[in-house]
Every structure is written in C-alpha cells, then in structure tokens.
Amino acid sequence: MKTIAEFRIPYRQVLDVDGRLVSDLPEFAKDPEELLRLYRMMMLTRTFDTKAINLQRTGKLGTYASCLGHEAAHVGIGAAMRPEDCFAPMYREYGAQFWRGVKMEEVLLYWGGDERGNDFAAARHDFPWCVPIGTQCLHAAGAALAYKLRDEQRCAVSVIGDGGTSQGDFYEALNLAAVRELPAVFVVVNNKWAISVPLSLQTASKTLAQKAIAAGMPGIQVDGNDVIAMRQTMEDALQQAREGRGPTLVEAVTYRLSDHTTADDASRYRQKGEVEDAWKTEPLLRIRRYLMDSGAWSDADEEALKADCTQRVDAAVAAYLDTPVQPVEAMFDSMFASLPESLAEQRQTARRFVNSGGHH
C-alpha cells in the first residue's frame, strides 16, 4: 500500500551519564557561569527536597511529593522560560518554580495544608500546583490563546507525567494548541512510573513524544537528566512558539528516584536494582563532572554551595514553621469577589464553633 504520511521523533542529549559531550554545546552552555547557575539551582532544589521529606517524617509537613531525580528536567524548564511566560505545573516541579521566583516557604505552606502557599509572591500569573492530573494542560492552552489574541509575546508551559498522558485532557490540549498554533510548550516528564503503574501498563506507545503526532505537532524526546539538553530543547520550543510557529511536545526522560509521595512505599512495587541503576544516571552527577573536568568547579566550591543551600533552606523552613494558621474566616473570604449572604451566615457559624472540631 502507498504511504501517505511519515513521521520521525528526534532525540537530544548533550552530556552522557559520565558528563562527556556527545553533541555540540549549545551557545548558552559555552558560558560556565550559565552552567553554574543551573547547577546551583539543581543543588538547592535537592537540598530543599531532602529537608521537606524530613519535615514530613517528623510530622511538621503533610504529604509531600518529592522531585528527587527530576532536577535537571525541572530546572531546564525554568531556566528557558521568561518571567512573563506562564507556567502550569503539576505538583513536583519545584526546580522550575524556584527559578521563577516561587519561594521555598510557599511550597512548604502548600504541602503543610495552607492555601497561602498558592499565593505566589512572584510569578503572580502562574497557575498553582495542579493535582487533578491532565487538567493543567488545558489551562496552559487557554493561557496561550489569551496571549495570542492579545498579541503578547508570551508563552505557556505545562508539565505532565507519563501517567498523565493517558488523560483525555492532555490530548485535547495538544489538539487545540496545534490547530490554533498556540504559543505553548507541553512537557511530559517521563519518570517511568505513575505511582505503582509502570510505563508498560500505561501506554503501548514507544515514546511519549510521538503522542504529538496525533495532534499534528512536533514532538521531541530529550534526556531529562541532562540539564543542558533540557534547557536548549525548551529554548528552541519556546522560541518557535514565541515566533508564532506553534506548539511543541517535549518528552523529558528521567526517573523517579523517590517514593511517589511521602504517603507511598515504592518498595511494594518496584525492584531495588532498578532504582540503583537509575541512581547512576541521576542529573546532578553528570553536570558536576562536566564542570569539574572543565575546571569550572572544585570540591571546595561544592562544599560552599551545599552549606549555602542548607542555610537558605533552613531559613525557609523557619519562616514556614513560624506562619500562624489562617483565621477560620479565610475559608469563606476568597470564595467569591464579594461574599453572598448565605455564606456570610455560615461564616459566622464557623467563627462560633472555631476549634470545636479539634485535631490541631
């Protein structure tokens, strides 16, 4: 039979697992300072992540979704975006969010059960963490459409997981973005697992990047543990979007080194060996190797950085722990622009019975 359509999915990697160059260094990466900025943020993110898990273990934080192993993918996204762009995350993209100005204490407040964590001091237009998987992709598409209609040179970026690619909303967003040539980039962070469901039970598609073909948009797979490849791929996709040449689907291949969340016990469903192997490919390792080999980084720098990160994280934790609980009225006061009568009455009831439920 004759062929009426053909497609290919490209793959990008710049640094291999040992930090050796396997393809040309992109322009930005020729400036060591640029690479150090990425590395420092990856380190800060990991330091924060470790601390957050400890806070949860010691009862000072609620369920927390770790980003261990995702640092390159997340930081690469954040570093490629402009402040005026819009980020629609899922729930573990701290590396990208820190780059955009989201505060560590905001992350802690959110997982600590306080909506004020979603009231970002910076990136005011970014979407908050999104737990209902898939829905955020449509918000990104809508944001991109708003920018396009207003002729603003802004892009929207959403992140979803490998499991999330099974959701109809994900596909609907891709289809919309492509048919309207929206300034959007859809990132699939493929960390191989959706809680306990391995990729092999999630989809039969060989890559997740190829899901772009269904929408008629370009898809590319990138080594998500290679922060240089990640940032460059995002910059290319964003530039294309900004110039009105339409959206891109980026699959970042990485691995979830942690449990799904602190409420999960991954040992129930995956092999120790698999995780140990994954550790050999983790993202900080290779960029550090590369920086050290190129003489831009030393053990002393490493120690200093770690100390600095710890100090900054500790300060954020202190700020978080010092935040008093919101007054019960907060439950009502942001429901509508102005409070309907029926709610005003309930608001009084809530005040009357404050603390009667206990459990604090």
Binding site: L138, H139, S342
Partner: protein, 325 residues
C-alpha cells in the same frame, strides 16, 4: 424599542458586551459561521471576527478548561455547550478549577467565565438533548448558576453574568427561546444576580420555579385564580447562591409553598428550596411543602417527553394539595 425573543436577548447581550469589552470572547462548537445550532451567536463572527468568535474542536472538557485558562489570564470567555446533555465532560474542570481557583490562590487568580448551555425538554429533540441538571452545578461551591425566563432577563442577567468576576453557569431554557417577545432596550443595563424575580403577586400560595416552567406555572396561576386561589409566582433566576429571603417573605404571607421544576425530583434544586423553608420558615406553613417536578427517570425520547414534563394540570393539583387537610 425592539421586540425580541429570549434567544435574541442572549445574542444582543453578547454583542453589547463584545462591543464594549475587548476581553470578551465567544467560543464553542458551531458558534462561528453557523451562529450556533440555535442561532444564539448568529452574526457575531461576521461582526467581531474569527478571533473573538471561535469555533472550537469537539471537546467539552477542553472548552471549559481552555476558558478557565483564558479567564485566569485576563480574558472574559463566554463559552457555549451545545446542549446540556453534553455538559458533563465540563464537570471536572468546573468543580475542580473554575469554582476553586480564587479560593485556592487566596484571590491571586480568578475565573470570570460564563458557561452557556441550552437546557430542558419539550422541543421534540433527539436523545440527550433535553436534560435539566442544574442541580449538579448548584452543588458546586464557587460557581453561580443563573437561568433566565424572559427576553428581558436573558439580556440583563447574561450581561451581569459576563461582568461577574466569578464563574457563572448560564442555562438557557430552549423550549421558550422563541415563545415570547418583549421590548428590550439594548442599553447594556444588567439585571441583579443573586436575587429572585416575583413574576406574579398573590396571597394564598407561593410557587417557586425557574426557566421554561415559569410559563406552565403562570398558566396554572391563572386557572387557580378562577377557583379563587391567589398564587404568588417567584422565578428563582439565580439558582445558586439562592435568594432564600424573598421566598421566606412570600411564604410568610401565603403560608403555602409549591416548587415546580423540570429536572428530576431526587436531589433537585427544589429540595434545597424546600429545605431552606423547612428550616427558616416552617412556622409560616399552613400546609406541607409540595414539589411538582420531572420524574426520577431518564428523560424519555420525545414521544413521551410531555408525560415527563410537569403539566399545568399537575401544578394545579400540587397547589390544591396544599389546601387539603
């Protein structure tokens, strides 16, 4: 002043607001060149262009989700769901995001969107084209549900809905889209939300209803008048949040309450009206509260649909029940 139908009131309100607010965009399936399957958006794309009046791909969750994204980024999307039977894929986006975004971001982001949909039976439409499930949306915190029952209210309430900084589900009773003409001045004047409209004053019984059923209810009220029963007819208009005070005042006067709606009875909005009065106005009641509603069945295909819809006779019977002892 032009005499217009309810659906023309919708079109007129959309046109006015698009003319006066660049942020307003209309989107949905077949809303463009075709002007909507009921013609609610007729002429708008020709007038405002394809960027302001957009035909979307066929996906309702997408329509709601993209509208939320647009609204959160400063637009005022008014999206159309072609029939209420196809509104259910929007439920996730509406309850989990439209109604929550302001709350969960402490007001940093909000969702000034309107989700329009024709609803209700009685036009001999195919399967899934005659639903009345306003109760589903009325139960969602953070979302307003508004239903007009006249050309004037269609115009005024839709303007208010579009201008409201929070999400509004605007349900249009398609059975009366073209039933009645009213003089409506195209002056951009909105009508208040969150309040009932008293369609007919009376002393002996309060009948609360909304949408297309206001017509059968008013007919019933005329009939009852001949029997010497004076019925007050209240159009709930904003289904949620509900203006219970107006209803309580009326019941205080009449002592009797009948609720009429087309939707299935079980956990319909009528239950909330009854519960509210049973809590705050029970001592005013001289009779049990009566609900005259659609049955707890699937809306039948059209050969039987008028057996499903509350008839004038059933409403009269319901009122008479409140005079038995």
């Amino acid at each position: 002043m032009p005499k217009i139908t309810l659906i023309e009131g919708v079109t007129m309100a959309l046109a006015w607001e698009m003319e006066h607010d660049d942020r307003v965009v209309v989107l949905g399936e077949d809303v463009g060149v075709n002007g909507g399957v009921f013609r609610a958006t007729a002429g708008l794309q020709q007038r405002f262009g394809g960027d302001r009046v957009m035909d979307t791909p066929l996906a309702e969750s997408m329509i709601a989700g993209m509208s939320i994204g647009m609204a959160a980024q400063g637009m005022r999307p008014v999206c159309e769901i072609q029939f209420m039977g196809f509104i259910y894929p929007t439920v996730d986006q509406m309850i989990n995001h439209a109604g929550r975004l302001r709350h969960r971001t402490r007001g940093r982001l909000h969702v000034p969107m309107v989700l329009r949909a024709p609803f209700g039976g009685g036009i001999h439409a195919p399967e899934h084209h005659s639903e009345s499930t306003e109760a589903l949306f009325a139960h969602m915190p953070g979302i307003r549900v508004v239903i007009p029952s006249s050309p004037r209210r269609a115009y005024g309430l839709l303007l208010a809905a579009i201008r409201d900084p929070d999400p509004v589900v605007f349900l249009e009773p398609k059975r009366i889209y073209r039933l009645q003409k009213q003089e409506v001045e195209d002056n951009g004047e909105a009508l208040p939300l969150d309040t009932c409209y008293i369609l007919r004053e009376g002393d002996d019984v309060t009948i609360v209803t909304w949408g297309a059923m206001t017509f059968e209810t008013l007919k019933a009220a005329e009939e009852l008048d001949k029997e010497g029963i004076s019925a007050e007819v209240i159009d709930l208009a904003t289904i949620s949040p509900m203006d219970l005070d107006t209803i309580l005042e009326s019941v205080e006067k009449t002592g009797r309450l009948v609720i009429v709606h087309e939707a299935a009875r079980n956990c319909g909005v009528g239950a909330e009206v009854a519960a509210g009065v049973a809590e705050k106005g029970i001592w005013d009641l001289k009779a049990p509260i009566v609900r005259v509603t659609g049955y707890d069945t699937v809306m039948p295909l059209f050969r039987l649909e008028y057996e499903y819809l509350p008839s004038v006779a059933r409403i009269i019977d319901g009122v008479q029940k409140t005079f038995e002892d």
